[in-house]
Symmetry: C2
Subunit: 203 residues, 2 copies
């Protein structure tokens, strides 16, 4: 590799690294202090950088939150991804495993989950990068539902509608569990019964 | 009625009226400005009263929010109540009507719904007045599920667990709709399909 090929690549990597460090710092602040704690100043302090470096990379606090949301959706996508070679081949087992992975992700990262799915965030803005990644994550669910129930699950207009109903139920379970307001004890059981009901309703 | 019987009753009524006026003012502020806008000062201003009158009746801002949450749960309870004489007798129709009433209530009062079910509120405090009213509202759902599916719906430990799963799905649908982050268009359809799935899974 000659210097001419090397230099731009090295420059891009350095810039990517700064962005990565800032995003990681933002994620730590979010995990520790919640959404209200994520300010440009707090994130810069956490990363040992100047506030201007945050503005340079993300434009604004909103840009930083959008990047955090995209990062969260990418991680969630990876967590539930059906195409990983270590996933089971049986559609029902794969569906159940992905549902469990969704819950585990939310419980492990409650603040990141709330940022994306708490409402009022960048996911609601049609055409935003976040909404594009949101749709990509949703496509994974569509694939799972399709493998389990076929292209036109009975009782639904299409597989997309069925996937939306599945997501609806999983999100409701996770959101009530995170809020600590379930009315019966045993959230893992409630979640398992919710998934059972979905499997029964889709097959 | 002599003066001795009348006076305490009139005093109670006057005090109730002040409390009612303050609660109504708090609800208006909540509807208009969201949870962040509900301060003792803002509510007193809205009611044309002194901040001290809010402290006298509710103790603190937290007490005021708890009273708002209780009021919301009472209204929600009334909205979905199965025992009203105008409700249909058929269990499935009654279940579907209550599910629709739940959604309509949330869409009509998004800020009040978020106050109670957004997480982190007084509903999560075991033994609080809010949690008692929350459980009373949940009892209505248990009754609906029992009428539809019997005391031990197949696939659930008991009717309470089944009711929790139902609530989970309804809450998820309403919460995603309020947040504007559903992935397929047509929220009323998604909600109707969610209720269909629940009915199929419970019968």
């Amino acid at each position: 590799m000659n210097a001419g090929e090397d230099r731009p690549s090295r420059r891009r990597t350095a810039s990517d690294q700064v962005e990565g460090v800032l995003l990681e710092a933002a994620q730590d602040v979010l995990d520790r202090e919640g959404l209200a704690g994520v300010t440009v100043r707090a994130v810069a302090r956490e990363a040992g950088a100047a506030p201007m470096s945050v503005y340079n990379r993300f434009g604004s606090k909103e840009g930083l939150l959008a990047a955090l949301a995209v990062g969260t959706l990418k991680d969630l996508w990876r967590a539930v991804d059906v195409d990983r070679p270590d996933r089971p081949r049986d559609p029902e087992r794969r569906f159940r495993e992905a549902c469990d992975a969704y819950r585990q992700f939310a419980l492990a990262h409650p603040q990141r989950y709330a940022l994306v799915f708490g409402g009022g965030g960048p996911l609601a803005q049609t055409g935003s990068e976040t909404s594009v990644y949101g749709h990509a994550a949703f496509e994974v669910l569509i694939e799972l539902v399709q493998d389990l129930a076929g292209r036109a699950p009975e009782g639904f207009a299409d597989v997309g509608e069925a996937a939306q109903v599945v997501w609806t139920a999983l999100h409701g379970a996770v959101h009530l569990e995170l809020g600590g307001i379930g009315q019966v004890s045993g959230s893992p059981d409630t979640y398992a019964r919710t998934v059972d009901l979905l499997v029964r309703g889709l097959r």
